[in-house]
């Protein structure tokens, strides 16, 4: 099923720069309904408060990391099917394996291009 351009997307990153980059790419790809969160905890609060169709998250964040947020999402009956794309500088094989085991939908290593983001989105929403 192709991605719905009207779906609400949550971009989770503690860095303003990265949130703006991801938002801009998503905007260019045709997604305009985008919200932001600075860490996993804030993201979980937003996800539990209103429906989202997709989450793009960093790994290293204060308060709650991306991987902990992912585990919380997969453990939550209301959120467990929500697609989560990790965009992270954690490029170790062990990190990727950890993310896969936690139930990540796909994984992008920083720095990345708009094409990579588009390709991953297509794979997630095929």
């Amino acid at each position: 099923m192709p991605a719905d351009p009207n779906m609400k997307i949550l971009v989770v990153d503690d860095m303003t720069t990265m949130r703006r980059i991801v938002k801009n790419i998503l905007k260019q790809l045709g997604f305009a309904n985008i919200e932001e969160a600075e860490n996993g905890q804030e993201a979980l609060q937003k996800l539990r408060a209103e429906p989202f169709g997709f989450v793009v998250s960093d790994w290293n964040m204060p308060v709650m990391t991306g991987i902990d947020m992912l585990r919380a999402i997969r453990a939550d009956p209301q959120l467990k099917t929500l697609p989560v794309l990790m965009v992270t500088a954690e490029a170790q094989q062990a990190n990727l394996v950890e993310a896969i085991q936690a139930g990540v939908s796909n994984y992008i290593v920083k720095p990345f291009t708009a094409e990579t983001m588009q390709e991953k989105l297509q794979k997630i929403f095929k």
């Binding site: 720069t17 703006r20 980059i21």
Partner: protein, 195 residues
Amino acid sequence: MHNGNLKLYAELGELARFVEHAIRALSQAGAPIASSSTGLPAATAHLIDLSKLTEDGALEVMRLTELIQDNRSRMLKELGAISEILETVDCTTLAQRLQKTVSGLAQDDKLLMEIMTALSFQDLVAQRVKKLVGILNDVQDKLMELVVVFGIQEDVNGAAVTGKTGELLKQLEASKTTAIKQNVADEILAQFGFN
């Protein structure tokens, strides 16, 4: 028996001298350690500044890029509308040229997006700086432990250690670790006739 005691005393005296020498050597090494330790907070501050500067720079480039993107988007719409008008008044050749220009300009959108995504370097810089700051803090803590153990309370210029280092030294002074060790050495020395 008497000779045995003398030999034992001589050996203990030698041992006491070795201990005193070792403590002095360690104390001398402590001064440069203290100096390095006091420089570490400044290094940490520089790294944090570096991270902030790259973030400010990246955000400014991003702001300007977004402005260019918005302006271009408006211009492309306008050119598209003009092209349609030209077609309706049968200026086909002119309309086609305009369309070609619009297509050429659209290629720049990709480049602008690449500029935008290239700014993600800032996030990588910030993460590495954070790791470096963590390492520096760890090294500083370890050096501080050494400084306290060696009892170095002044820097290489003889000035009293101030700031975090001084504060830590004051907090840890209560342990009197070095004094106790020196006392033990002095006690042993005294027992063997060293005054």
